[in-house]
Amino acid sequence: MVMLVRWAVTSTDMSLKVCSIDDLRPGEGLRIDSINPPIAVFLTEDGEVYAIDDTCTHQDASLSAGWVEDCRVECPLHESTFSLVTGQVDQPPAKKGVRTHQVHVSGGAVYVELSTAAPNLPPGVIVA
């Protein structure tokens, strides 16, 4: 379980420390379920860190378990892939994209500034 700590990065931004950069493996995602709805943090093979909503918009599945390639993650259950940069979906069965969250890496820690948009959650999944 990753501890959620509120952390002021600048005087104006309120960011959340979600994990250490060492918790991430290139080409894989990490589900942060202390945030609701959970988010997924990805470290690409190129060393970039991205954060998106973890739940596929089609059916309840964790995108952190998906295959990462070319800055997109493929939902582990079906064939839709989501851009790690924009959250946009490329093909059915998912029809809506996921939210993206701003990421800052500082001092070996990964900070996320959560989107304020409404999440696109699949049937049966609600924000607690």
Partner: protein
């Protein structure tokens, strides 16, 4: 009932008995062999370089079980039962593929290439489900000689002593099998033979050369000493280097020169042919410039799939040097052997063979295989041999 065999033939008795014909036809005996031999011992299933990229998988059958052999992203090659841990459907369909995940097509239970359960519809709402416990069931795996070897037993026999050690001991230190550098060779040709014969007939055939002068004219031309009926495999598992004929330049269908010799073979291994059986389902043949590996996959008491690979130095393959005449020699030997086995199989259920047949002195070492076979079938009362 097991017929007790005499340690030494009676004076004047050149012939020793084989198992009864039913040993080659009885489905109950075949089932016991699957359970007590093929599902207990190490089986050589495929070439490691045939699944070269992460996500490459192939299906193989060992005993009565269907397995997935997959190259993972970070954990090398893994083997799993092809059984979804949710409701049991086959996870992989088809014979091979390349995948980012191993996903059951029924309810979309989804496994990482490394086997653990990573996704399923609503799995995030079931945090108590252990991803490893409900991952694909793994199978023991080793890589050796460039091949993937698997064992279904919960406690597999020690690979280093049972497989590696036995093969190395038989070849002897000087004539080490390691000299051939088999793990660095590449596949030049592979052929699959669907043989309508019991697997034991194929092993017995491979162990002796009493038949060589009769059914293998090309092989006996290259290795004239085979006309004496003695095979490379001898008593007590000893391996004898069988010499090429004087005018023979290489192990080819017409005795013409082969390709460049493997660099590290010992002087004793030059111009010689060695053969060994790695029980229960592998034959390895070595000659100075290539290695031939047979893998057997018994399908039923009367059907066996045999895959034969011809392996050469990488530069031979990369430069597309001519290997056709090398391949053709043992391809013919295979065809000749398997035709003989297929013409033997129907007689195994004949009244005229109910008591079994005979082994001549140059075949007596096949008894060592029969003894091993009887001892492996733990429920001896099952076998009326």
């Amino acid at each position: 009932m097991i017929i007790d065999h005499l340690e030494e033939p009676l004076p004047g008795s050149s012939l020793r008995p084989t198992p009864a014909g039913s040993a080659y036809t009885d489905p109950a005996i075949f089932a016991a062999e699957q359970a007590d031999i093929f599902e207990q011992l190490w089986n050589c299933v495929l070439r490691a370089d045939s699944i070269s990229t992460a996500g490459d998988w192939k299906k193989v059958t060992v005993g009565r079980e269907e397995l997935i052999i997959v190259r993972t992203r970070r954990a090398g090659i893994r083997a799993f039962y092809n059984v979804c841990q949710h409701r049991g459907m086959r996870v992989c369909t088809g014979d091979e593929g390349r995948a980012r995940k191993l996903q059951c097509g029924y309810h979309a239970w989804t496994y990482a290439l490394e086997g653990e359960l990573v996704a399923a519809p609503n799995l995030t709402a079931m945090p108590d489900v252990d991803r490893r416990e409900y991952g694909l069931k793994p199978v023991h795996l080793r890589e050796w000689l460039g091949y993937v070897w698997v064992c279904l037993a919960a406690q597999p026999p020690d690979f280093d002593t049972e497989v590696l050690g036995e093969v190395r001991t038989r070849f002897g230190e000087v004539e080490s099998i390691d000299n051939y550098g088999i793990e660095h060779l590449l596949l030049g040709e592979t052929k699959t033979y669907d043989v309508a014969a019991n697997w034991k007939l194929i092993i017995e055939n491979f162990m002796e050369c009493y038949h060589c002068a009769t059914i293998h004219p090309e092989l006996t031309e290259v290795i004239p000493e085979f006309a004496d009926g003695l095979a490379s495999q001898r008593k007590n598992g000893e391996v004898h280097g069988s010499s090429f004929g004087e005018d023979i330049q290489g192990f080819t269908v017409d005795g013409s020169a082969g390709v460049a010799a493997l660099p590290a073979i010992a002087p004793d291994q030059d111009r010689k042919y060695y053969a060994i059986t790695v029980k229960p389902q592998v034959f390895i043949n070595t000659v100075p410039d290539h290695v031939i590996v047979h893998r057997m996959f018994p399908v039923s008491q009367s059907r066996t799939i045999v895959v034969c690979d011809w392996l050469f130095l990488p530069e031979v393959i990369h430069q597309s040097l001519p290997i056709e005449k090398s391949v053709e020699l043992f391809h013919r030997v295979n065809q000749q052997d398997f035709e003989a086995c297929e013409l033997t199989q129907p007689s195994m259920s004949s009244a005229a063979y109910a008591g079994g047949g005979a082994l001549v002195p140059s075949e007596h070492h096949i008894e060592e295989f029969h003894t091993w076979w009887r001892e492996r079938l733990r429920g001896e009362s099952r076998v009326a041999a």
